[in-house]
């Protein structure tokens, strides 16, 4: 089979798996697990084959037109370059791991069938986005991911948190998608094509009429999908979904789609210096803000969610300085270690019976209960904090050295102001990242207090998946020397200045947090806190659902806990209160959008209940009064009926006589 045929099969297989899973799920429950895992795994293998075939060489383009579509043609097109094939391998790997992990994590879940089918459908949509060579086909995958994300975040729909989070995720991303759609149409009109090759060609030859407007419109959609400031607020709340969903959608793949889209169309964005500056500022605010917010979170998954937002900020930063090779390199390594972090967090939540770091910091020996999760999570946190030689170090260095090149004027794609913004924010974020990674590790695995509850051994498949993902988290950075040829040919190896600087600030961040923890951990014993959902027999998802539902009741907030033993509280000082709520952005949105909409709904209800219904009630009241008058005659007295009969016949007789006389007279 040719590479093109294989590439078509890659998104098609999970799609067919999803359809078959949904159709057969009820009738043949034994087939659900194979139908979930095997097509995804086959897609992963095919993606690897396609990547090997493509080999980072010249891009492979193939297209077929189903039907003429008016002025701008829409084609089913494939565009396989180094970016596409490598991202597809990442998607396939993470999706396979997540499907395997879910068979253990949602072992007893009654809705596993639809869950697995939706994850497969989601995988297929992401692979479609990655391989597609046509913007309209890309948009189809983009929107399918949005709706799958809605369903999967709302998997525990019995809890109000999950219902609210799924609606919020859907509405916020749609808020970005509307300008995105308009931007796509404007872009296609200017360039005369929906094909990515055609659009890029037009952008390189200056054929785009309004590059700033189009780039800003597209950026709105990217900010929504990739959770960049100011549309990032859905991502932390989306942690109300099951952990494997967080790993797949909200760490490794869907949020990467926005970044990947910008990387694909980078020449369009690079045509406008304003757009690049906006992207750089957006990335800088996102990075620093999310780093601060992550330090204040109590839910282990919300820490990771804010860390995802921050790492996506690095990716947008790399794009803002015009180096998509570095961006996609960091996307790949981040996808691996962040998926690992989330899946390990799922094991931790199951073993500890809580998602609260406060409760975990009062448990002894959690690390000994789950050695696999402990070691792999340590590896992933080191990768996240960009400590050499783990994967995160090399990819983050690629981003920072790209920013340095732009700042010093060695690269002309983006303005040097953007370079400085990204570089400084990136170094600051490296400090914060190391700080919250250290805090997470210390609170989760170095707790003191009562013995951790024994929830039995974790399923083998869950631990095995963790080790599979640990391999790229450790070793992927070593490919930095070769990967440059797969991308734009620019070197991805770290430069000495930024490497020393960022590793230095990361070490400082880690050590300061450790010192703060030594100072505060003594307080933990004095203030007993935390609640544990104990289900030794239940699967992970049951424990997690209860932990999410009880967090607000126990601590009074979904995000933070009033714990004096938290080193983040000492480090952030007065900022802690604001950081815990994500710097009150939700309150701003609530004032700007939610309350006006609610007020408008109240007005509509008033108009309906008080104005429209008054007319209806009046229309009913007239006949009712008439009917009451007529009913009065029905008094049951036969004699009065007879009297009426007599009077009626007299009147009739008189009328006949009068009429007869009148007609006779005329």
């Amino acid at each position: 089979m040719t590479t093109t045929t294989l590439a078509v099969l890659v998104p098609l297989l999970p799609f067919l798996g999803a359809a078959a899973g949904l159709l057969l799920g009820r009738r043949a429950p034994g087939f659900v697990r194979p139908l979930a895992v095997l097509p995804t795994f086959a897609a992963f293998v095919l993606a690897v084959v396609v990547a090997v075939d493509q080999g980072g060489g010249k891009a492979i383009d193939a297209a077929t037109r189903l039907t003429p579509t008016g002025s701008v043609p829409i084609e089913l097109a494939l565009h396989l370059d180094g970016f596409a094939v490598l991202v597809a391998v990442l998607v396939g790997l993470v999706a396979t791991c997540v499907q395997l992990y879910s068979t253990g994590y949602l072992r007893d879940d009654p809705r596993y069938t639809s869950y697995a089918a939706l994850v497969s459908l989601f995988t297929s949509a992401m692979l479609l986005v990655v391989y597609s060579g046509d913007l309209m086909v890309l948009l189809v995958g983009w929107e399918i991911m949005g709706i799958c994300s809605y369903f999967l975040v709302g998997h525990y729909w019995e809890t109000p948190e999950a219902r609210a989070a799924s609606l919020k995720a859907f509405l916020v991303t749609k808020l970005g998608d509307v300008p995105f759609l308009i931007g796509l149409f404007a872009l296609a009109t200017d360039a005369g094509a929906f094909r990515i090759t055609g659009v890029v060609q037009a952008a390189l030859t200056g054929g785009i009429g309004h590059p700033t407007l189009i780039a800003l419109l597209l950026l709105a959609g990217v900010a929504g999908k990739s959770a960049q400031f100011p549309l990032h607020t859905w991502l932390p709340d989306a942690m109300a979904g099951p952990t494997p969903v967080s790993a797949l959608i909200h760490a490794a793949t869907m949020v990467a789609a926005g970044i990947y889209f910008v990387a694909r169309l980078l020449p369009v964005f690079a045509a406008s210096a304003a757009a690049m500056t906006v992207l750089a500022v957006m990335a800088a605010i996102t990075m620093v803000g999310s780093g601060l917010a992550a330090l204040a979170q109590d839910d282990i998954k919300r820490v990771l969610a804010y860390s995802t937002i921050g790492q996506l900020g690095y990716l947008s930063g790399a794009l803002a300085v015009g180096d998509r090779g570095a961006a996609v390199f960091h996307l790949l390594s981040h996808g691996a270690f962040k998926a690992l972090l989330f899946l390990a967090a799922g094991v931790v939540i199951h073993a500890a019976g809580t998602n609260s770091l406060t409760a975990m910091s009062r448990m002894d020996g959690l690390a000994k209960r789950i050695p696999d999760a402990y070691w792999t999570m340590t590896v992933a946190l080191l990768a996240l904090a960009a400590i050499p030689p783990f994967a995160g170090f090399f990819s983050k260095e690629a981003v920072l050295s790209a920013a340095e090149h732009t700042a010093l004027g060695e690269s002309q794609i983006a303005p040097s102001g953007a370079g400085w913004t990204v570089l400084i924010a990136g170094l600051l974020t490296a400090l914060l990242t190391a700080a919250y990674a250290t805090r997470l590790w210390l609170l989760a695995f170095r707790g003191r207090g009562a013995e951790a509850p024994d929830h039995g051994r974790q399923p083998f498949v869950m631990n095995a998946v963790l080790w599979v993902l640990a391999i790229p988290s450790i070793g992927f950075g070593l490919t930095a020397g070769y990967l440059g040829d797969w991308f734009d040919g620019r070197a991805l190896t770290p430069s000495v200045t930024t490497a020393v600087l960022s590793t230095g600030v990361a070490l400082v961040g880690g050590l300061v947090t450790y010192a703060a923890w030594r100072h505060t951990s003594a307080l933990a014993a004095r203030t007993p806190m935390g609640a544990v959902a104990a289900h030794p027999e239940g699967d992970g998802s049951l424990v997690e659902e209860e932990a999410i539902a009880s967090h607000t009741e126990v601590y009074g907030s979904i995000a933070s806990a009033p714990d004096p033993a938290d080193p983040g509280r000492l480090l952030l000082g007065p900022l802690h209160r604001h950081a815990a709520t994500g710097f009150h952005l939700d309150a701003v949105y609530s004032a700007l959008f939610v309350r006006p909409v609610l007020a408008a709904a109240g007005l509509v209800r008033f108009l309906d209940r008080e104005v429209v219904e008054t007319y209806v009630r009046a229309a009913g009241a007239g006949p009712r009064w008439l009917g009451r008058a007529v009913r009065r005659a029905q008094n049951g007295n036969v004699q009065s009926y007879l009297s009426a009969l007599l009077a009626g016949s007299l009147v009739l007789a008189a009328a006949v006589v009068v009429l007869a006389n009148v007609t006779a007279g005329s």
């Binding site: 009712r624 009451r628 009065r632 029905q634 008094n635 049951g636 007295n637 004699q639």
Partner: protein
């Protein structure tokens, strides 16, 4: 004899009967008034039969029919009145209002009939 005498007599009889049917409260008296009206009609039938010199005497034949039917009617009527009286302890037409429209359930200010519940209670007894 002039036609006017029996005609006027018939009118007087009919009006008396009509008054009795519409105004009397005792069911037996109402039935008697019905008889009066029937007989006024009979009187008319006979009078006009004579005045028109009908060879077939259709008026007289019809009168016989009416008398026969009136006899049957009064029999059934009296039986009903007797049954009602045994059942209710009264033959007062004004109080036999089972078919009256009750007060409007959706309308508290509708016409209230205090006699109705009492009658129901009697019916049950």
């Amino acid at each position: 004899m002039h036609l006017a005498y029996p005609a006027v007599l018939a009118v007087l009889l009919f009006c008396t009967g009509l008054y009795g049917v519409l105004a009397r409260r005792n069911a037996i008296l109402v039935l008697m008034s019905v008889e009066l009206m029937l007989n006024a009609v009979n009187l008319n039938l006979v009078a006009f039969d004579v005045w028109l010199r009908d060879t077939l005497h259709g008026g007289q034949a019809l009168t016989l029919f009416t008398i026969a039917i009136a006899a049957a009617e009064i029999g059934i009527g009296l039986a009903i009145v007797l049954a009602v009286y045994r059942n209710r302890g009264s033959s007062d037409i004004d109080r036999l209002r089972d078919t009256a429209e009750g007060p409007d359930p959706a309308d508290p200010e509708g016409p209230e009939d205090p006699a109705a519940p009492a009658q129901k209670a009697e019916a049950a007894a």
